[in-house]
Amino acid sequence: MNLSVRGKLDRVFTAATGLSVVLLTLVLVAILGPMVYRGSSAVFFQGTVEFRKMQRNLFGRGDEQLLHAEVAETEEFRRQVYDMIDGFKKGVDVEAMSEQAREIHRQFGQELRDKNLPADQYTKLRELTRQIRDKLDSAFHSQDIDEIQRMVAEVLKNADNPQLKDTSAEKLFAIARQFLQAARQIDLSKHHEYAAALREVEGILFHSETLPGLLGPRPGEPAAPLVMLRYGATRWDQAQALLDRFLWVQEWVEEKPGHPLVMKRRVRAESFPPSLRPLFAYVEQNAGKMLRPQRTVYWQFLIDDNVNSHYFGGIGPEILGTMLITVIGMLFVIPLGIISAAYLVECSSDGWTMRIIRMGINTLAGVPSIVFGLFGLAFFVLFLFPLLGFEPKPCILAASMTLAVLTLPVMIRASEEAIRAVPPSYKEGSLALGASRFHTFLAVTFPAALPGILTGVILSLSRIAGETAPILFTGAVSLGAVPHSVFAPTRTLSYGSYDMAVGDRLAMMVPHNQYGMVVALMMLILILNAAAILLRSRVFKKLRGQ
């Protein structure tokens, strides 16, 4: 071949290999980069005052005095929001107002009874307030402003009645005045529309029955049963998403008949009368002051238990469980794998039984992991445990053993290759000195094969730590106590990621926690691998005498 052609071909080859390496790197970065970025936001983020409140209440972290001062400062800005909403409610939320009037009437009756008035006077006053109440009630439910004005005027005629002075009945007149004022400003025909829209706004600002809101519950409100509803947006990114929902209404609109619906965004303030519109501008401008975002490093994410199925808190028990299962699994895999490999290399001749055993190992390596999961359930949990007198229920031990069976073929094959690769001259040298075959294996062959065996350890380590299907039925749970023995089931990172992804809307609400779990799993495997690789290189260097 022409020399220049050969040179060109060489360069093309070099370029092609280089290109493929670059492509591979890019693909890796494209896949892992966003994942790591999102996962790291579980630890590094802008935490709001609600986050610090949650940390104080649930985990006992942070200075109580400072927190109180901070909360007081934010409350100052929040109070305006409360006032605006309450003021608007006076004209809109008629059901609440009739209820209030009825309550005042009851209270007044109690007061009268306490005063021991004569019977006829008592009946007269009761009758009067009942009339006032009923009139107010019909005024609340009227949609005609003239009618309302007339009714309220009639009610207010009694305001000068000396017998009602300094009693709780006076509150009725206050309500009446406020209502008249509010009713003049709003379109009474839209009463119900406004009430519904206001409920939605309150849901976004405080909390709805199922979802947490921007600011959290109003002070004095009884604590919600769900912990996640007791706090507002703990993270600034969450707050901004809520703010967006607060300021904009998303609607599916049919633009042309017969065409698919189109998503439209519309300013939410427009669905309210002008009297409430300043609220939106106020919240938009003062969100920072009401929540006080601060740069936060929540490293305790790695040790905390979660609250409200991963809405708050961290992944400590998951990490612990993963490590436990991995370590116990390796305790089974390493000795079994090495002994099996030693048998295959040292003690067996190449008969047809050997061929069948080797074929079995190779087939086992290709069996889907869910099959191992079912095997683990059937064999370890339901058959072996009762036989040994243990309770037949999923636990760490069963999960570890199932994972060990799963990775055994990998370990055996890697160790077999390693032991086979030891020069036979080492073995001859040892035997010529009078050593037995067992001693030769222990003292010469095994140490020489150690780097290769450690490669098998690394491979099975990653597999054990990352598998989900085999532990589905044998030892993983999505919620539960931190394991205290190997006979208890545990949470793991791999199963947790799966559970969050298929569970409910939670993963959508806290994507940082889901990605955080996945990234933590990757990092854990990376660290375990790095440790094993370091160990291998040290062993290798020691053997080579460097």
Partner: protein
């Protein structure tokens, strides 16, 4: 290290120095070409290794057939012959290294020290300790120098640290490696040069205090200088050990051995003093081989 131990070591070094200098003075190894073998009558006439119609077959293939020869103690015996003639097979039969190969079969007798080693009652561990072996390629274990040499003694049950140290030092001195490695006994044996590795293997074999040392082409992987050192070493060792060496180099056989055996196609053609084999062979095949007409 305690002072007593240090003194111990010094006296030990002194005595072994004296021993080595004795060896140097009593055995003329300087002029290798001129060296004449000692007459057979001077050494003990009773053979340490005696082969009586010994044959070894790999399945149906012949390894060696009908070998009858006596190997005398405290001398170097060379086995020469073309490739595939069964030299190594015979050598490896002497410490039963061939047992590793499946489907082998032996006939006849092979006596070491009067015991038939192919007898069922033979203690293989004892045999291997009596008959040490050095291989064609240096094969130190991937351990430290110290651990390599101490491997044999610790197999014999020596656990005492001082005893092991003594054994290691003696063996390394006997293999003329002590001065080169005494400062880093903890270093990996694989870091040594090829010649040093082979001498380490000799030291390792000597550490079990064998009576016979089998060498299977010990210099074929070494350069001439390292080869020279190993040959010098053999000259020193032959006063205490019986050495059987298989070699492809006829010059080497002529330089180091007292007696030589010529093997061809699995049979022993001629066995006599080296000088006779090279100068006045009684068989035609031997003459053809040593004069380079074939092989």
């Amino acid at each position: 290290m305690s002072r007593e131990k240090k003194e111990d070591m010094q006296t030990l070094a002194l005595t072994s120095d004296i021993r080595r200098s004795n060896i140097r003075t009593t055995i003329p190894t300087i002029d290798r070409k001129e060296r004449t073998p000692k007459p057979a009558g001077d050494v003990c006439e009773c053979a340490i290794i005696r082969s009586e119609n010994f044959s070894l077959y790999y399945g149906s293939k012949v390894g060696v057939e009908n070998i009858t020869m006596d190997i005398y103690p405290c001398s170097v015996t060379a086995i020469i012959g073309p490739s595939g003639c069964g030299k190594s097979t015979f050598l490896r039969s002497i410490n039963r290294m061939n047992d590793l190969i499946p489907h082998i079969r032996t006939e006849g007798k092979l006596l070491v020290d009067g015991h038939d080693i192919y007898d069922k009652r033979t203690n293989l561990v004892n045999l291997c300790q009596q008959v040490g072996m050095v291989f064609q390629k240096p094969n130190p274990f991937p351990k430290s120098i110290f651990d390599n040499v101490a491997y044999g003694p610790s197999l014999q049950g020596v656990r005492n640290k001082g005893e092991l140290q003594n054994a290691v030092e003696q063996s390394l001195r006997a293999a003329a490696l002590w001065d080169e490695v005494k400062d880093d006994l903890k270093k990996s044996a694989l870091a040594l040069s090829g010649g040093q590795q082979q001498r380490l293997c000799i030291a390792r074999a000597l550490a079990t205090k064998p009576r016979v040392l089998l060498m299977d082409e010990p210099c074929s992987a070494l350069d001439p200088i390292a080869t020279g050192r190993i040959e010098d070493l053999m000259g020193q060792l032959q006063s205490t050990y019986t050495i059987v060496i298989v070699t492809h180099s006829m010059q080497q056989a002529a330089r180091v051995s007292e007696r030589a055996a010529f093997f061809c196609l699995g049979e022993l053609i001629e066995y006599d003093r080296t000088s006779k084999i090279f100068e006045n062979p009684s068989k035609k095949e031997t003459e053809d081989y040593v004069t380079g007409r074939f092989g």
